[in-house]
Amino acid sequence: MAYYLQQTINALTTGSLYALLALGYTMVFGVLRLINFAHGEVCMVGAFVAAFVARAWNQAAGLAPTAEQTWVQAICGFLVAALACGLLGFTIERMAYRPLRKASKLSALITAISISLILQNLAQIQWRINGIQLFGPNGLAFPRIIGTSTPIVWLRDTCGISVVPLELLILGLTAGTLLLLWYIVRYTHMGQAMRAVSISYDAAALMGIPINRTISSTFILGSILAALGGCLYGMNNTKVEPLMGLIPGLKAFVAAVLGGIGNIPGAALGGFMLGIIETAVAAQQIGDVSLSPYRDAVAFVLLIVVLLIRPEGIFGRALPEKV
């Protein structure tokens, strides 16, 4: 029992990152019908920026930070990262996707992949601001919030599981963000515009919805979620690297497809589901062979299986082609 509980918490922590990233994919796909391949890289940039903020702070203070200060650092780090990623998302859309909106989808996909290449390679160049490293080929250690990495005593005593506060923090933040996003999309003016654009681009424009602004805000919103995902990933794995966005990005895309691409609650559920199934399969053994090294293949096998059975995704709706 304790074992399963432990695994579930691990799985949900992994799933959180997928869910946060999958939302970005699904929202952009909803409004633009475009797979934004640079999304994983936006997440990576967010993680680097947050790490930079904490290091800059520590250098300016000159002393080792106290526990309270690391909390403030984390919050500031996230805010700066969110700002930077929001700006990055806005710029990417403006420079690389908007000029191609009328061209074939394939052309936009090529620019998306090029952007992803650019970001990966920019992050591999040593960047220093006032002598503090921002990017670099070897990555950075992500600063920890002091006191979040020791297992919670009473959970260990009562349930026999080892859970660090950081994991609960990640779960809580992800859940809160999902609720907030759901509120934004469902009940705000901007959310209404986004939903309208995702149903029909032309009709929305005819109803006076500012298409460009709506698409920009979708990108900004998605990028902020990616920044949060990057920060949480950094905290959990303690290290950020230039190529860290690639595989989680692809998996998050898989999660978005599993949930039915374009479907916002579906993407979140798909992300958590992917985390759970991945963890469950990786824990299995067939004979002497542990399946753990095959962890990265699980998402894609699952993807192909789901596509065969329900091509529109688990929570998606199949629409007949209008003739």
Partner: protein, 659 residues
Amino acid sequence: MTPKLRSLRHLLIVIGLLVLAGALGVALDSATGYNRRLCLDIAFHASLALGLLLVLGLTGQFSLGHAGFLAIGAYTGAVVCGKAEFLAPQIAFWHQTCGLSLAVTGELVRAGGCVAGGFAAMLAAWLVGMPTLRLRGDYLAIATLGFGEILSVLITNSKYLGGNTGLSIPGMQREWIGQAGPNNPLAQNWSLWLQAQNIALPGAWVLILLVMSIIFVRNLKSSTTGRAMLAIREDWLAAETVGIPTTRYKVAAFVLGGALAGLAGGLYAHHQYLTPDSFRFMFSVELVTMVILGGQGSITGTVLAAAGLTLLPQILRTSSTLQHLAGTLGMETSAWNTFIDKWRIIIYAVLIIVLMIFRPQGLLGHHELNILWAKWRRRATQDTVRVGVSIPPVMPIAIPNPQPLLIVKGLVMEFGGLRAVDDFNLELEPSSLVGIIGPNGAGKTTVFNALSGIYPVTAGTIKLAGHALTGLQPHHISALGLARTFQNIRLFKNLSVLDQIQIAQHVHHQQGLPAALMRHPAFYREAEQVRTVALDLLAFFNLEAYADQMAGQLCYGDQRRLEIARALATRPKILLLDEPAAGLNPAETRDLMRLIERIQREFSVAILLIEHDMKLVMGICQQLVVLDYGRTIAAGPPASIRQDAKVIAAYLGAVGSSG
């Protein structure tokens, strides 16, 4: 030129090109290491991109795992050449008993590895493509993305294939020596085997592979099969309704593309140290970039783009002009070199974005870079402009018994809870002209979609000359003799007017892929015949002057008529016209009325017509069926329909029925 001569000319050109490629390869082998390697890289990338062109450029399906097929080919080739102990006695046999030189024996094994790689990749492509290509949309992209990643994880975890550290053929052979003792019965053959295998990959092989890929794709593209694939790219649904089995063609393109990549892989194993990481997502993406940058469907464009994209990072690194330029800007050569090493991928990506923004259709768009060919084409076009003699190109179909041609009984169509068509019945006599009318949303087009197999019917039976149509695919129904047009014209916009008609004769083609690739005389004979029929049909519709224009460039009325011509080219027994007069002015509508009557007479087809223009419907139809909310509210000759109270109520609103 007669078909036999043209076939002979084709054969001579192919042989000439292959000899040329071989000679170039021999010349290349005398070049220095770095430049030779770069040339081989370009040739490999171009061959791979050409394989992907079949999938992405011709069929319009998006594959993000093409490097996976290269990996399968490469690892298969490596295993055949590096681990196949059982081949050692064969080599000794060929060398000692048959007297083949060691070099030739080694090349034979290498070729064997290539072929094995090709087949392995083909099988993998079939397994991935079969289930996913049934689906519409970008599912292939997602599935192939997954395929590439799974493959990489599998190879990483396989000790036999070298895992993460990878493998090379010489390395595998060394390992082989280490493992077996001197008493092994195979030992005496090892030295021969190694001598045969350690010869470096001749450049001629790679260049011949490239030329073969070019010829293969080029012959495919300008054949029935290739045109069918292009039609799928343009509009899969319209392709289905003119009789093209789209799933089969999509799978064929994917499998052939995979086979080309697998063949290349068999050689690649001798060119490169193999690690699972070298075949991942980014490599597939580079190949996709080459095809899209080249122009989707352009062979010359793809080869150019492959060369350019392979050279670009190298040029940035080694160009002395750039170094000199940096020097004049006050940059040391060493500083420039470190700068460019860091930034070249970024510059490369930025250039691709700029190119995409300014030329979203790719370098060459849908065109080929071929001056001679263009000249020849222009001449051929001049020949085809002829005075419009309208010969009915299709022989009337003799109907043996005077039964109704089409019998629809109790047709029901439901979408979710909505009953769009309810208990629809129809009997269509040969060569009759029946109209379906009704207010918007009455279910008229839904009836057409049910008849042509686009939507599965909920209940009821449809029989065409005794064949049940329910449950059949649209291409099947088209082959049985039912053709249609669409309410919102669905032409193959980026293909020529002539191509539309040639494609629509798909069901009647006899010569398949082998004839297209080998260019038998029969291929040329059929091509000429298909072309003649197409030109005659265009002449009937007064469209022959536009034969070489893109269909999307025609004016609206011409597009409508072209779509009818395309439907007739399938030689149907029944023609369904969905609002042919929509958007036409009164004069054009009058012309259309006469045209429809002429079609019915001269092609002896039965016509089922949806139309809102009452004058047209009442003027030419012998029978009318009136639908309202999916139900048939009246049927009969136009005169009686005009008087029918229910019809008047449906169109004008019932008197006293609602406020």
